[in-house]
């Protein structure tokens, strides 16, 4: 893992009307790092993610990705990242393959069918489902399709929103292995989750967020996963 600041929150504050959703966040994520933002419902995880994706504006401070300010240059950020939404929301009227082709097309990424097939095989999506309408997919299959899309974007930065939510244990293990592989290949991964165990397994660093404020930080030491108990205690304690 190299520590070059790929993602950076600098006194990041987001207000909507009179409500402060994020209050003076400061952190940075380095190249090849798996960074998990952990928090309960309404903690501000999705707001943080949307701000880094340029879908919400910072009221003060800054959110930068690969040196691009997400508030002032959202398109530069969006072009260089891949995003995996929480409830994988692809088009139900299209097949998995058509969804991938469509999103790659709007992202301006040219990929051959062979590349797409390889990505689908890599995420272990059964071949007989590729041409079926997405409305017939299980949540896990949708997740795999979205991951394949993210892989095909070849983006140096991946934003993942509750990536393992609703997946079965085997699928979670497959996913964690894939995330680790991507990070090992130099991708920077920013995930927001409330799954303490999953985050500890895969993340190099976990930061706790509560009511829009950062409340704690845990870092992996060596190859051992972050201590789940410690994170859980801090997470539960803060919530209590």
């Amino acid at each position: 893992m190299q520590i070059n600041s790929v993602i950076c929150a600098n006194a990041l504050t987001v207000r909507v009307d009179d409500r402060t959703l994020l209050d003076n966040l400061n952190f940075s994520v380095g190249k090849g790092e798996v960074f998990a933002l952990l928090g309960g419902n309404g903690a501000g995880k999705s707001t943080t993610l949307k701000t880094f994706l340029g879908l919400m504006k910072a009221s003060s401070g800054s959110a930068t990705v690969l040196g691009h300010n997400a508030t002032t240059y959202p398109n530069d950020v969006q072009k260089s990242v891949a995003y995996l939404p929480e409830s994988v929301t692809l088009y139900g009227h299209l097949s998995g393959l058509e969804n991938i082709r469509y999103f790659l097309s709007v992202a301006g990424v040219a990929k051959s069918d062979d590349d797409i097939f390889a990505a689908l095989r890599k995420v272990a999506l059964q071949e007989d489902s590729w041409h079926k309408a997405l409305s017939n997919y299980s949540k896990g299959m949708r997740q795999k399709t979205a991951i394949a899309l993210a892989l095909l974007r070849n983006a140096p930065v991946l934003f993942l929103d509750e990536p393992t939510s609703g997946l079965d244990p085997a699928a979670i293990d497959e996913f964690n292995a894939l995330v680790s592989e991507l990070a090992a290949n130099g991708a920077t991964i920013f995930m927001v989750t409330h799954d303490v165990y999953g985050a500890c397994q895969v993340a190099h660093r976990i930061v706790l967020l509560s009511n829009g404020i950062l409340t704690g930080s845990f870092e992996r030491i060596g190859d051992a996963p972050i201590d789940t108990e410690a994170v859980h205690a801090a997470f539960a304690g803060r919530k209590a």
């Binding site: 939404p85 929301t89 999103f103």
Partner: protein
């Protein structure tokens, strides 16, 4: 790259419509309806044009084929004139559908269907006929709403908007893609109209008029597509955007045009037909009875005539005094009739102008005004038809009166009721009936029609600006 993303989004929207049975049905139904209305109307107009030619020729032939007669009997025999439908009336029949296109011309009267039907039709008839213009102006926007109300809000509701925007797609690209899809879908309704316009452009109609006519409908469809896309983006839920769009449609296409007509009727009230007819009759009576040479109203005329020819009795005049009275009386009556007709037409025109001011509130009113004016089926053109028909009426009646004055002996004329034999002698030769001028009504020149429609093009331009601002606001507020 920018346009390629717009095209991709547009193509996906089409794919969605084609894979959704409801949307595909709406598209197909709309296109079939427009095409059917156009074909039916074209046949109807074609038939009407043939009938008009047939009846016009027949009326002229029957008039000329009359035997030797008393010329005043020919004045009352009368003559029909018909107005040929304009080429663009295939699409926009305008006021023709309720004013009629035939007038019976006779002495002492101005017959017009307009006075009988104009007031009723303002509220009813326009809604009952399924003409191509009605389909394009009123029903097509409804179809556009039905297929487009969820085009953007569906993305938000399904959550695909976030993913789409996170791919680097700009809000403008997304909106333009959706708009392009809706414009091309609207094209299905517009295409039959444009094909008809293209066909018309090769007939006797001015190409510029046809182009502007097509342009007004194209802009109208564009406006609706933009409004539907903007509303779909502005409101978070599809159900809310659908409700809002239906409210807008009701206001723009149904209520405001009707409110415009009602406001116009109240702001510039006109008297009813019966009341107007009584006033005309009362005024005509004061002019004297043109059939009675001894009516005191013609005493002065008689004195002047006797003095002019320096004779003591009308029997000694070199002209038929009865014919002179008929000629004099017809001229004065025509002035009165024209005065009333002009007043009536002025009132109607004022009402039409007031109603058209509602084009500042509804683009449907603007395009309807442009459409009828350019098609030559507006109230102005109908009034022109009435004036030209009246000019012909007066010309042919006075022509017969001239024959009466010059070619029928006064004594024979006065003695015509004495016996059957006397009546047979009080006639003129049938050759005199060849005095009818050909009636070939043409709408105003292209330049005049275009210039009359300019103000309504300005209204349409204002609507384009308003819609552009609405679209910009929708793009600004487009958040996942």
């Amino acid at each position: 790259m920018i346009f390629s993303v717009v095209k991709t989004i547009c193509a996906d929207q089409w794919r969605y419509w084609l894979r959704t049975k409801v949307a595909a049905t709406v598209l197909l139904l709309g296109a079939i309806l427009t095409l059917a209305a156009l074909v039916v109307n074209a046949f109807h107009i074609e038939e009407a044009a043939h009938a008009r030619d047939h009846f016009q020729t027949e009326a002229e032939e029957r008039f000329k084929a009359q035997p030797d007669k008393h010329p005043h009997r020919m004045v009352h025999y009368g003559h029909y004139v018909f107005r040929a439908p304009t080429p663009l009336s295939v699409i926009e029949p305008g006021v023709d559908t309720y004013t009629g296109n035939a007038i019976f011309l006779e002495g002492h009267r101005q017959n017009s269907a307009m006075f009988a039907e104009q007031r009723q039709s303002a509220g009813l008839t326009r809604f009952s006929s399924l003409t191509p213009s009605f389909l394009a102006l009123v029903l097509a926007p409804l179809f556009i709403i039905l297929i487009g109300y969820g085009s953007v809000s569906r993305e938000r509701e399904a959550g695909t908007l976030t993913l789409l925007l996170s791919q680097g797609t700009t809000r403008w690209q997304l909106m333009l893609g959706k708009l392009l899809a809706l414009i091309t879908a609207s094209g299905l309704f517009l295409l039959p109209l444009l094909l008809a316009c293209f066909y018309v452009a090769f007939s006797s109609e001015s190409v510029l008029v046809v182009l502007l006519f097509s342009l007004s409908y194209a802009v109208y469809f564009l406006l609706w597509a933009a409004v539907v896309t903007a509303c779909s983006a502005l409101f978070e839920k599809s159900s809310v955007s659908f409700t809002m769009l239906i409210v807008i449609w009701m206001a723009a296409c149904v209520l405001l045009p009707r409110i415009g007509s009602s406001v116009a009727t109240n702001a510039a009230p006109s008297i009813g037909k019966l009341e107007a007819d009584f006033k005309v009759v009362e005024k005509l009576r004061s002019l004297g009875d043109g059939h009675d040479v001894n009516d005191p109203a013609f005493k002065k005329l008689k004195e002047n005539l006797l003095a002019k020819y320096d004779v003591d009795s009308v029997d000694d005049l070199p002209v038929n005094f009865r014919g002179v009275v008929a000629q004099y009386s017809e001229g004065r009556q025509a002035k009165v009739l024209n005065e009333f007709a002009e007043n009536r037409m002025g009132e109607e025109l004022e009402q039409a102008h007031i109603a058209r001011q509602f084009g500042w509130l509804s683009p449907t009113v603007s395009v309807r005004a442009i459409s009828t004016i350019l098609a030559g089926t507006s109230l102005e053109t109908h009034h022109r038809f009435l004036r030209e028909a009246e000019a012909l009426r007066l010309e042919f009646v006075q022509g017969l009166n001239k024959v009466h004055v010059e070619k029928l002996d006064y004594k024979l004329d006065m003695n015509r009721n004495a016996s059957e034999e006397a009546a047979e002698k009080a006639v003129v030769d049938a050759d005199n009936w060849a005095l009818l001028s050909e009636f070939d009504f043409k709408p105003e020149a292209a330049n005049t029609r275009i210039s009359n429609a300019l103000i309504y093009f300005l209204q349409l331009f204002v609507w384009v600006c308003i819609t552009t601002l609405l679209l910009k606001a929708a793009v600004r507020r487009l958040n996942p």
